[in-house]
Symmetry: C2
Subunit: 293 residues, 2 copies
């Protein structure tokens, strides 16, 4: 159990918490209440140089622009062709001049798509795309210690969920093979669907809001009827989910050699970790092994 | 297994299907795909003379009218005081002059309520309300054969979900004790929630549409990422869910002596059952025992 974790403060804190909630005594939590939730990008797999789903979107839109050159005059297609990374930086500040064209482009790409058609597209992407620095597929860049943590939690009668601001349906395609988690245990931002003529058909609107920031605990409670007993994240958009949990694990990317080193967009969560006594996992010292390869 | 089922066509059809999907061969379905979904009112418990949640709503509104007599001039409070059952019949035809006041009354009763507060109210109702004919609590009127079916399916690596047009959060209060199903496996019509100042707070809007008719398979797919392998229902509003499943079970209420006998609002689903070869469960002949008491 937890073989890729060094015998450090973080590992000991996780084990102490799990032993406390599973042992008779004041901290005991019945099995029904043992919900663990984890962010995906930067918590379960590499999110640099960009979250894999963003690579998927860019490839989709580049292909669409090739087939329909008139798109090249409009955002976000224009920015892709021109390599205008400044445009996409507007996502971070939720600039409506960036977010709105992106939402329209997502809707345009998948409007009326059935889940099976979308799944085929994602499978093809996962099978062929490689991460630029490591030259392997994105699913090879899942953190081995985190899947060991899933096993450890499941062995202690926790149900493990993933809750990401990224696309619920994107993650569900590889969740079972890659994480060993059923599709129904994947929570995320999602389109609404209707059942029409015997088929599930994607609608041009979202179901609920984005699963980011306060949207994470809201989505988790809607899906599971509970707030997490244990939660793991790595970024400011995970802060509310971590605050809502009884035990919070914050992944700190400090290993330039084996993975990446950055604190950008994790400043607030790192400050809250210090303030609230969350367990910070420093990749450089807490993990003996990072990947499976 | 299935001890309260007579050795009849219906029981044999269920067993034959489960054996087929769990045995190597052309009909085999890997465990990941083994999703079973069941309606609640009339499928898992007695829905006559009215669905229990409706009794809960009427009691809530009657109490509110007592505290605030001016409500008595407005619907649906007026109809409750006057015993105007014709008003409530408008639900069946989705009359906007009935549905709209009801939706407003629901929103008014629970706006800003936390899940814990709502849970307390439902627990109190379940603990004190009794069904008028049988004089026992509603949860004593869960069909014993259906819970045996849950056990049988789980023993064959199915995951069992409940999907009702009724309130998701109402059902989640008693799901774990009464059905042996975790809250996260309960799907239904639901309010949207936001996470504000560390609490989940109910908003004055729904999350997605009603889980009725085509809304059932849509809700099921959104929640689980799949359509059901096996589904059970009893009414016309279950038709699309049953059509979306590989194996459909339709409960036919034909036992006036031990339960109720009615086909109202099940005419379409009974016709589809005959047409599509669904397995019809006649309570009078297929169940040796109906309740636990």
């Amino acid at each position: 159990m937890l073989a890729s974790w060094n015998d450090s403060v973080a590992k000991r804190a996780v084990i102490a918490f799990v032993q406390r909630v599973t042992s008779e005594g004041p901290g005991f939590v019945p099995a029904a209440g043992r919900i663990a939730t984890f962010d995906n990008d930067g918590t379960l797999w590499v999110e640099r140089p960009m979250p894999p789903q963003f690579d998927f979107l860019l490839r989709t839109w580049a292909a669409e622009t090739k087939n329909e050159p008139s798109l090249a005059n409009r955002q976000p297609y224009k920015a892709i062709i021109e390599g205008d990374t400044a445009f996409f930086a507007g996502i971070l500040t939720q600039d409506p001049n960036v977010v709105s064209p992106l939402e329209h482009a997502v809707a345009r790409s998948w409007k009326g798509t059935t889940p099976d058609e979308f799944e085929d597209q994602v499978r093809k992407f996962i099978a062929t795309a490689t991460q630029p620095r490591f030259g392997v597929s994105y699913t090879d860049l899942v953190y081995r210690p985190m899947l060991e943590l899933f096993d450890y939690l499941k062995a202690n009668d926790f149900r493990v969920f993933v809750c990401s601001g990224g696309g619920r349906d994107f993650m569900r395609v590889f969740a079972e093979e890659t994480w060993g988690i059923y599709k129904e245990d994947v929570i995320g931002s999602a389109a609404d669907y209707e059942y029409v003529d015997g088929r599930i058909v994607r609608q041009d609107r979202m179901l609920g809001g984005l699963a980011l920031g306060p949207g994470k605990p809201a989505h988790i409670d809607a899906h599971t009827g509970r707030l997490p007993l244990l939660a793991g994240g790595n970024a400011d958009v995970d802060t509310e989910m971590l605050e809502s949990a009884k035990f919070a694990l914050l992944i700190n990317h400090d290993d330039e050699h084996r993975e990446y080193a950055y604190t950008a967009r994790a400043e607030k969560s790192l400050a809250r970790a210090a303030e609230l006594g969350w367990t910070v996992v420093n990749i450089s010292t807490d993990w003996s092994t990072v990947f499976w390869f």
